[in-house]
Symmetry: C2
Subunit: 371 residues, 2 copies
């Protein structure tokens, strides 16, 4: 997408074929900073510190992390330690494991000297595939927005939580891809942007939408229920970090509360996802919920009136808890929007759309366990 008139992806291989650049999202929305990395530990740090975030982008970054490790040392030991390092960065993200599995499958049986070139090619292919998947999600979701628009006057009001836009992917986004597609088609659309405490990823969503010229309004996470009671939300559209084979959706903490409000007010609740974020073998109760540091609750970053970037405490030392995700049960979800189209949030719905996935995945797992 465009930033200041220039087209960007959120991560890309530089022309030297050996270093990888990405947009540092901890600097947004106030500053647009591109960072270049050449070592796997930089990739791990970028994921861990959430300089890159969003399930697909975490996957792409991890894939490039493997490339950087192999470029430095193409041995089995290097490959193994890179996988372990990257896998430990964010325990909930499904795409992280998916991308690492893809990279492993691509390079592990090659002669070590061949690995770096194959890895870079595969990481680039993962990025291109992500863009193609997001484009397809955008098309399928766009039809929902168009149908909604046909039934009402004024813009289609979409509520979204966290950031599932192009910054969370390589380009286009998942939940926001249909919004961008609608906007491009001239369909009037307005987005209610949950600020998404504690990390305020809503500021990223607002930044994206503003840069692209899509009307939007930032609200606190507490507000969505009232807006739905008042008929100000036509549909909810969120992303996901991991979807179970039963259609339960693990996403940024607070998603579940919006799904409950949508159900209570007859507002459709859609989840946009690439099939790579489906975990066919886990149920909603078994997904590990990442706990993060207390600092994220107590400290807030922003800009003073004088333009200085500072981090402040919003309360004195306090006892806090900080869970990253919650699980929205499938029964609250109107439909899943995937790259292959819409399906009910259920085992049956998912298996009908992805008949090839359930079995091969199980076999792959067994192979990995044995290997």
């Amino acid at each position: 997408m465009n930033v200041g008139g220039k087209q960007y992806r959120s991560i890309w291989l530089e022309a030297d074929g050996r270093s990888v650049s990405y947009i540092d999202q901890t600097e947004l929305p106030f500053a647009f900073v591109v960072r270049r990395m050449t070592r796997v530990d930089e990739a791990a740090e970028a994921i861990r510190a959430m300089r890159v975030r969003g399930a697909p982008l975490i996957g792409a970054t991890a894939a490039f992390g493997i490339c950087l490790a192999l470029a430095e040392d193409h041995t089995d030991a290097s490959l193994k330690s890179a996988v372990e390092l990257l896998l430990a960065t964010r325990p909930t993200a499904r795409n992280l494991r998916w991308a690492l599995d893809q990279m492993l499958a691509e390079v592990k049986d090659l002669r070590p000297p061949q690995r770096p070139a194959a890895a870079f090619a595969k990481a680039k292919a993962i990025c291109d595939q992500d863009v193609a998947v997001c484009r397809a999600i955008g098309e399928h979701g766009f039809r929902l927005l168009r149908e909604t628009s046909a039934t009402k006057r004024g813009p289609v009001n979409v509520l979204t939580h966290c950031n599932a836009g192009w910054l969370a992917c390589v380009d286009l986004g998942t939940a926001l891809a249909p919004v961008y597609r609608a906007h491009a088609a001239g369909l009037p659309v307005h987005v209610w942007v949950d600020e998404t405490r504690p990390r305020n990823q809503g500021a990223l969503t607002a930044w994206e939408l503003k840069a692209h010229g899509v009307p939007h309004t930032v609200i606190v996470d507490n507000a969505g229920g009232l807006l739905m009671q008042q008929g100000k939300v036509d549909l909810c559209l969120v992303g996901t970090d991991r979807t179970t084979g039963q259609g339960d959706v693990c996403n940024k903490i607070g998603t579940y509360l919006k799904a409950l409000a949508a159900k209570d007010n007859g507002v459709p609740f859609y989840v946009a996802l690439p099939s790579s974020s489906i975990d066919w073998e886990t149920d909603g109760r078994s997904i590990p919920i990442e706990e993060r540091g207390a600092d994220e609750v107590v400290c807030v970053s922003g800009r003073t009136g004088a333009g200085e970037r500072v981090t402040i405490s919003v309360m004195p030392e306090a006892s806090t808890a900080n869970y990253g995700f919650d699980v929205t049960p499938a029964r609250l979800i109107t439909a899943l929007v995937t790259e292959r189209g819409l399906c009910p949030a259920s085992a049956k719905g998912l298996r009908a759309l992805f008949p090839e996935n359930a079995e091969p995945e199980r076999r792959r797992r067994q192979r990995r366990t044995r290997g």
Copy 2:
């Protein structure tokens, strides 16, 4: 309650009998600042700027505002303009109108020179009555906590939203009164404190609980659903700004989302309220929902590492909306905890507990409309 070993109320008449002091809650939780006021416009500003907040305390402050106006000018014109000024400060607060009605009834038929003394006496009585009401709510709510404690090991885990503690009242609090009562009785209790964006009143709740030694954990507003899914909440207990005669509860924005999560997870959801916050003649859909400035969403106040108090923007100029309250439908509420005991959140339940209120209130209204 105690602050630094000295006992305080949140507002009090000074020994001079002519000035009123209150704890400036915009300075908390970092600084404990007492402000003294002598004019009605200072009282109005204190309410409008939320230096005082919480339904009962707003009522008490408005009552003292009438005193200050009459002490300066005891004419009908002064009384009328003071009522109008104070009534306009916070449109949603029920106790504001209740307290002003009480003050009006007390002084309007007196000879003007008698009004100031009568007003101060009445305002003081309103404060004392509020403390007595909170004490009774504490006793009734305590029984709930004791019953819960009997069914489990470890502390009773209470989730609360916003601040309905002693800072929101004159003393003791509404939702927190049962918690303080339980703590005094040696019953182990732990409070999950919603931070309550956009104004972070959870920091006030945490400050109160810490000062009193009650175990608590601050969480973002997004977290409560997950905690309930995980069985970490035994009951929810919140305050209210206005309760309808049908048992619908208007409270700080986001309360509705927690009530939905409680219902979905079989967690009891209680609302503690003085009967003065019941609006017998309004239904949930007719309550005006206060809209506040965008600054509250975009700007956050806190303290830098160097100890300086600053306000920062968490995002660049953004389009925002900021609604103060939502309405939790009676069907989501397990019971109302009033000074007369518990009752179902329904017209029948409320009228059984307050049989005298529905009719006289209607007659008073009609009198006011005719007068």
